[in-house]
Symmetry: C2
Subunit: 334 residues, 2 copies
């Protein structure tokens, strides 16, 4: 956040702009929960979610983009909330039939989920952009929130571990996230570019807040920030950039965040997570269970403003409460 926008004359403007747009930057499950909360708590049409595509990969000839699908399924009420990925009421006949044909199936795609992937793969092969395809899928699913892939160009999250390099799914699914990660590399990032849609959304003068969802800072937020120019746009934005902690009571709510922090020699704490992308944050939401750690944020930069909230999002009400807390916090920082 740099305060009020600067006009063509170089002076800070005091124009009256309705600040009612919100951007969320998100990975999969945890981020989708908060985007669901935001979409319920505000006019969903004013919410844009910029989604990680670093986990995109090919399985059985299908182009799979898990975080976008998690957003699509979550925001349209189609997600399997118990399993934590994929669609509810899903069946697995195609995967069973692949096994019958002798395939070693370690990456499961449900029958309904296959349709999403088939259609996307077909349209990509025709030259349609992931951004357009995602918009069409969201429309078909009745989603009013705007879902934007972080880029239409491939960025592939690679994990350098002691025993070798892994593609994201090779590490996360096949190796059950067990090999200790020494370094995360976003292959292709230097050649990727922001889409016009992402750039326009980030430059929108009506932006009230940019919310960095409680997604894995290394594997979900990191790839988004690796897209050339995007991190700088966050830093330059007049809208406050609010981080929401992915760590509560010294544990990650879901996924490998805590293990990765340990592997990097970091304490598993909200402040350590905030510090990892400290340059972009104007404020940070700490879980109310960790109120004792507020003091640690005084040493991030020249002191990172903190607000407390229940970040666990156990149900829709909790998602909405967190969304409300984030939006109110942003208002105090504008």
């Amino acid at each position: 956040m740099t305060g009020r926008p600067v006009g063509p004359d170089g002076k800070r403007q005091d124009v009256s702009v309705t600040k009612n747009k919100v951007i969320a930057i998100s990975g999969g499950v945890g981020g989708a929960k908060l985007s669901m909360g935001l979409a319920s708590e505000m006019d969903a049409r004013n919410l844009t979610v910029i989604v990680n595509t670093g986990d995109d990969s090919w399985h059985f000839g299908l182009f799979v983009t898990p975080d976008i699908d998690t957003q699509l399924y979550t925001l349209s009420g189609r997600a399997d909330l118990d399993r934590g990925w994929g669609r509810s009421g899903e069946t697995w006949h195609a995967m069973d039939a692949l096994r019958e044909l002798g395939e070693d199936v370690w990456f499961n795609i449900g029958d309904k989920d296959i349709a999403t992937n088939l259609l996307r793969t077909m349209r990509l092969s025709r030259g349609d952009r992931l951004t357009e395809i995602t918009a069409d899928f969201a429309r078909a699913f009745g989603i009013e929130t705007r879902l934007l892939p972080m880029s239409d160009m491939p960025v592939s999250t690679q994990l350098k571990c002691a025993d070798g390099d892994y593609d994201f799914h090779d590490w996360f699914v096949a190796a059950r996230a067990e090999p200790t990660v020494q370094e995360v590399v976003f292959r292709g990032a230097e050649r990727a570019s922001m889409t016009a849609e992402v750039e326009t959304a980030l430059a929108d003068p009506e932006l009230a807040a940019i919310v960095v969802c409680p997604s894995n800072p290394f594997l979900s937020i990191g790839p988004v920030l690796s897209v050339p120019g995007l991190r700088q746009m966050l830093k330059d934005s007049p809208a406050p950039v609010i981080g929401v902690t992915p760590v509560v009571s010294g544990q990650a709510i879901k996924g490998p965040t805590a293990a990765m922090m340990k592997g990097f020699g970091l304490p598993v704490s909200a402040s350590a997570a905030a510090r990892f992308h400290a340059d972009i944050f104007d404020g940070y939401i700490l879980d109310e269970r960790d109120a004792g750690q507020v003091g640690e944020f005084a040493y991030i930069g020249s002191g990172l403003p903190v607000a407390l909230a229940d970040t666990m999002m156990v149900d829709l009400d909790a998602k909405r409460r967190l969304a409300r807390a984030v939006l109110e916090f942003a208002e105090t920082l504008r």
Copy 2:
């Protein structure tokens, strides 16, 4: 059939070769029934089915080869015999999900069937040949009969109708085979070639018979015969080439054969069907219901030998009886 094989000295050989191999040339459903009968009535390992691939096409980014799949599913007991195509116990969740995404789904692929198509498409994109892929699928399904695509190169059956040109499935499925066909064209046939496997099978000195299954002569047998050199190998083969009528009592058992014959101005009769590929046949199986038409075969070439059989194949017993009749007829013609 040209009689005994000719040796390097130019003389007809009288070598004692066990003639126990059989080739069937087949399209989908009707042909698969007879290949099932043959596989049950003889040592299945000695049976090779050369299968039409003229209906191969792309749907939702999947390479679909319907006649090969019908053979795979029929010979392994996985076919839905009531529906007449696809797998038994099939579900349609992926197609439903495609419709939900706004797709106009007129070509249905079941969830289990998708697996076959996904894996094949993926392997083709890696450079594997359709012949190898089909052999691996047959092995995985426990099929002992050898299934050979007519070619590894694309041949596309096109239908020229009064109202325009159609791809096979556009005509057969989308237009419900209603437009009157004026001409059938096998696009790509001139560039296609026999595989080493097909050529070796057709040249096998142990060949006892080549059976042309009761498949559509224009749309299923025609494409196979369009592969350069294949028709000539049938004519040159010392093994008798036996046709099985696709027309019984003036009707096709299944599919558009009768309507096409009418459209071509042909009588809907077994002899008219036989006449269409008369150059390759050494004998023809006429349905016993059409015994009165035997005389018509005297005017095909210098008289085409005929045998009568029940060609309806209503159950496995009937399939086996027809197979036995074909094999016995071939023996009399050797």
